[in-house]
Structures are given as structure tokens and as C-alpha cells.
């Protein structure tokens, strides 16, 4: 997906590439819009999301994700660089690593917790061969 068109579509502003300055793209309009959207999403997550009952957690996570991309696009101008888009490549790989770190950690730790929580009876332990009947169990 070509992210560079997003700010242009969303702000109705021409976002021409600046050929002769090293200062990246972005106009007052795009900063104001990014700022307004961020405040709106923050207040939404703060006031509305907690009142949604069981949907509160997904609502907070989703508003955070949307705000993440709002700021990446409007403030950090992700995707608006000229080709080759190395910034975008590094960003995607980092996203993958973060997903592996976080999902992997939660997965392993919840498995461990399950193992701890499972009440094994003495009989089951004998059957598993984890403990021989000769040993005293506490």
C-alpha cells in the first residue's frame, strides 16, 4: 500500500515533494489535523471506551493503534519519503520483531501459568511417571 497518498487525501492539501530543502513534507494543515485527531482519539479512549463494558479493552487498544498511525503519518511523515522507502522497510521489520517479542512473551508466560495452575493429583503424577510412589509428596 502506498501510504504517501493518505495525508494528501485526508488533508485535501497539495503535499509536493520539496526538492531543494532537506526539511520533510508536511504543511500546517497536516500538523493541525494530526494534532486534532490525536486529541480526539485520546479523549475518546479516556471517556467513551471505559464505559463500553466488555468492549472497553478492544476499544482502548484500537484507538491507541489508530492514533499510532495518525502520528506516524502526520507527524513523522512515514511513507511520504521518496523511493526506495527504506524507512518504511525498517519500520515494517521492527513491527514484526515487536509482534514476535510481545506475542511470544505473552504466549509462553500464559502457558507457564497454566502449568502452574493445573492441580495435579497424586494419582496423575504417578501415571505421568513424574513422581514414583516411593517418594513422599507434599
Amino acid at each position: 500500500m502506498d501510504l504517501s497518498v493518505l495525508p494528501r487525501i485526508l488533508t485535501w492539501l497539495p503535499m509536493t515533494k520539496h526538492a531543494h530543502t532537506d526539511i520533510p513534507h508536511g504543511t500546517l494543515g497536516s500538523y493541525v489535523l494530526g494534532f486534532a485527531l490525536s486529541i480526539f482519539l485520546t479523549l475518546l479512549a479516556f471517556w467513551v471506551a471505559p464505559q463500553l463494558g466488555t468492549l472497553a479493552v478492544p476499544a482502548i487498544v484500537i484507538t491507541a493503534l489508530i492514533q499510532l498511525f495518525v502520528q506516524l503519518i502526520f507527524f513523522l511523515h512515514l511513507g511520504s519519503e521518496s523511493k526506495p522507502r527504506w524507512n518504511l522497510v525498517i519500520f515494517s521489520i521492527t513491527g514484526l520483531i515487536i509482534a514476535i517479542v510481545i506475542v511470544g512473551t505473552l504466549w509462553i508466560m500464559s502457558n507457564l501459568e497454566h502449568l502452574h495452575m493445573m492441580p495435579l493429583t497424586t494419582q496423575e503424577l504417578y501415571e505421568d511417571g513424574m513422581v514414583s510412589p516411593a517418594h513422599e509428596l507434599h
Partner: protein, 189 residues
Amino acid sequence: MKKHDTHEQVSFGLWVYIMSDCILFASLFAAYAVLHTQTAGGAGGAELFDRSFVLIETLILLTSSFTCGLALLAARAKNTVGVWLSLLATFALGATFLGMELSEFGMLVSEGHSWAASAFLSSFFTLVGTHGLHIFVGLSWLIALFIYLGIRGLTPKMSKRIVYFSLFWHFLDIVWICLFSLVYLLGSL
């Protein structure tokens, strides 16, 4: 003769650093996600976090990110006064944010909820404190920019430095959004 790195190389290098910093924060987030229920019989997030206080902190940091963007626009327009005003505003807002964060930490510690109290608080202080440390580094960077700006004025090189700083500062705001949502809002549900 020493060859200078081009602007693209420098900003790409900075971007790679920022992305690696994201991985650091992701690890701390993962540790917090695992440990946040381990309160050792003490108070959890729902009792300890002051939602409204943190909302104000969030809005302050968000505004500082915006004023930092304005500094970039002012630099492009070669508006020295605009650059000074927006960077000073960024500094003031960032310093206020850091002050509020430290006062929150001080309050928690004085009430006996220090990092030593439980695994939850250890991971909380590490995660939020690491972000605070980054903010401190950002503020020091800004002071260096002020000195340079005062001595040399708004040179093209200075404009580039503002671009590098703004990358870092916007990134800190994004990390804070994750902290605000995942630690404070989810924690106080």
C-alpha cells in the same frame, strides 16, 4: 578531507536508532504485560493510577509534539522568531510533563508503592521511567539546540538539526500514547 554524511544518511541512521529503541520499549511492555498482575498483595493499577492527572500529562506531551512540528514549518519558512517560540514552547511543555511524571513517582514512593514493593511496580517504574529518561535526553538535546541557535542563528545546518530532533520527539510522543492507553487506561479499568 573529511567527507560529511548526507542528510539522508543521517536521518536514516536516526530512524534505525529510533526503531531499535521501539524494540527496547516493546520488551519493557512485554515484561509489564506479564508482571502487571503480580502485586504481591499490594495495590494494583486501578487503585494507584490517577487517570485525570495522566490525561493532562498526555495532552501536554501531545501539544509539545505539535509545537515541535510547528518549529519544523517555521524553519522551512526561515522564520527565526517562529523557531525560537515553538522550540521554547516544546521545551516548556516537555519539562512540565517530566515534572508531572516525577511528582507522580514521588507520590507513589512516599505512599510506600516504590519499585521494591512488587513485581508490578518494578516493571511499571522501569517502563515509565525509561520513557521519562528519554524525555530528559530530549530536553537536554533541546538546550544544545538553543545554544547553537543563539550562537549561529538559523543556518541550513540548524534546520536539519531541528528535523532530527523532531523525529526523536514525535517518537517519544508515540511511545507515550502506548503507555497512556495500555498501562494507565487499561490498568485503571
